[in-house]
Symmetry: C2
Subunit: 313 residues, 2 copies
DNA sequence: ACATATATACTCGAAATGAGTATTATGCCG
DNA sequence: CGGCATAATACTCATTTCGAGTATATATGT
């Protein structure tokens, strides 16, 4: 067994939603790719991985993490390099998801829409044009270029699952990984040390941070439906439309307004405060607050979405 | 930063179902607690964490893993000790779930029902008596013994979510963690180095392996419902009742037979082979096989369960 | 007063769900 | 051979949930 060291890296995708924009806190390492707040795990100082994470994030962003959740541990050789050249110690990278309300960020950090990094994931207005114009042609070529028939069939299946009939908004990571392997994403060329001659989709991130962010979005989109996590992102009181817009921002989909409020109300996730918002135009909306009690009452208090399949709401 | 080393441990909960018994492959370290197959990650030799895992498992169990999935990375200080005394290097432990069909095991390894380790999780016959007789009284005491009112309230909520009204079969890990903190599980006393004067529930495992197994069961029970993972555990052809018994074994619940077959059939998860089983008594059942095509056709081809809420089927 | 913009309430059909009953195909036992 | 026990499979039915609308209420600005 040759002596190569391992070190553990901790990274956090810190998510907030402001208005209709789902954003992630990135560290602007000047000139370099955007990065998630990250740092090495120090086993001597930290009792748990999560406390290590909180320390790093606190130092880099002055943010006090609220809800956090471990995502995944990545250890692939070559996917944690900044420029394709191997470093001496191997980094195993543990990714976290954290939810907060957007506050003022520290210097060197910035909130950016996560759709900067994943423009094909935002279906709120319509199916992103780039899917038909750029992604599908390139992926079809990727299928055609397969070294053998078996690989071609596998690639065809993945294409279909990721971008075919029936958009499954949770498959964010699968889609990113497919685009990576097909060389449609800058990181692929950087990690392999070759020059990219084609298009790159979305904005690249440092190391494997875009992969971690994809995992975070996928997890959050899934979890929405069976745990009341959205409320971590809301102000103490909010209107039902604000809640809906937040969910839509995260899911990248439009929901049916009347049904959404029915679901939310019926499920007892929320209770009225008797106070009302003062909107610029239109009827004022009642302000609601999250009912903490549901946690005690029901086993899986998620937010069934009530997706809209037709025109307007 | 003081120099304490980190090493990465890989462990696998390898699951199979034989008849009505959901089992996990354990290594019988003679005299010591049961352990999952595990070993350190060697960054020099292995390109990915998963390949490292496959190597270890192959050596220890001669098993060729089929479906595998990463579960969680545990790094808590003190929860990876065999006897409560700290070792010099810190172990961060990455747990995996693997699904196979039960074959002949290697020497030193053994298939054991996972309900040995989690007897309170098997509700197939009825609610396990130990919940009323042992768990609830002890947990109520745990609530009462809280150092302050706030902690007591938190503990009361957790008790309710884990063992209160409305059994949620997926909360396996939450329940185990609660029992751990309440000192109802042997590992708690071992990790803290104190002597246990009360009862211990279930069979203890080495290190944090029971925690990993709890994570595995929870994940599998959840995943069942939205990905066709059960079929990894089935023979190439099977009757619908065999499929149902397998799902029941995993979920720890009884299902409604007629509705189960309706769901499975309607969803196109399965196709008839035209052949029939030869049972000891009763009408022969048609043998079915898994339809690989669903993966292409539908976004989330899970097995909605069709739980039974009343008497017999 | 009315046009416009929202919020909120209510309706309706289609599908999914939970729980049964009914019918069919075996082996076995006298 | 006829009837029973045992399972498999088919069909029924009421209830709930879902998706999609229409209708009504309450603001503001002109």
């Amino acid at each position: 067994m040759s002596k190569e060291n391992v070190s553990i890296g901790l990274s956090a995708a810190i998510v907030a939603v402001e208005g209709e924009r789902p954003s992630v806190l990135v560290v602007a390492h000047q000139g370099k790719d955007d990065a998630l707040p990250f740092g090495p795990f120090d086993p001597a100082q930290q009792r748990t991985l999560e406390s290590g994470l909180r320390k790093w994030v606190g130092e880099q962003t002055r943010f006090d993490l609220g809800y956090t959740e471990q995502l995944y541990t990545f250890g692939d050789k070559g996917r944690h390099s900044a420029g394709g050249h191997g470093s001496s110690t191997r980094v195993v990278s543990v990714g976290y998801l954290a939810l907060t309300r957007q506050g003022k960020e520290a210097p060197e950090t910035e909130w950016r829409s996560w759709y900067h990094y994943f423009p094909w994931e935002d279906w709120r207005d319509s199916k992103p044009a780039m899917i038909e114009s750029a992604i599908l042609p390139a992926l079809k070529k990727f299928v055609k270029d397969a070294p053998n028939a078996e690989t071609a069939e596998l690639r065809r299946e993945r294409l279909n699952v990721c971008f075919g009939e029936g958009w499954d908004e949770e498959r964010v990571l699968e889609r990113y990984e497919l685009l990576y392997e097909a060389g449609l994403v800058e990181e692929f060329w950087r990690d392999s040390g070759k020059a990219n001659k084609g298009a790159s989709l979305g904005t690249a991130m440092l190391f494997d941070h875009r992969r971690i962010l994809a995992t975070a979005i996928a997890r959050l989109r899934g979890k929405l439906k069976y745990r009341p996590v959205v409320f971590e992102l809301m102000a103490p009181t909010f209107t039902l439309l604000e809640l809906q817009r937040t969910v839509e921002a995260l899911a990248g989909l439009r929901l049916h307004k009347q049904n959404f409020r029915r679901l939310v109300a019926e499920q007892g996730l929320v209770e009225g405060t008797g106070k009302f918002s003062a909107p610029a135009r239109g009827r004022p909306a009642e302000l609601f607050r999250f009912r903490r009690d549901v946690l005690r009452e029901r086993p899986a208090p998620g937010l069934r979405l009530g997706v809209r399949r037709s025109k307007a709401s």
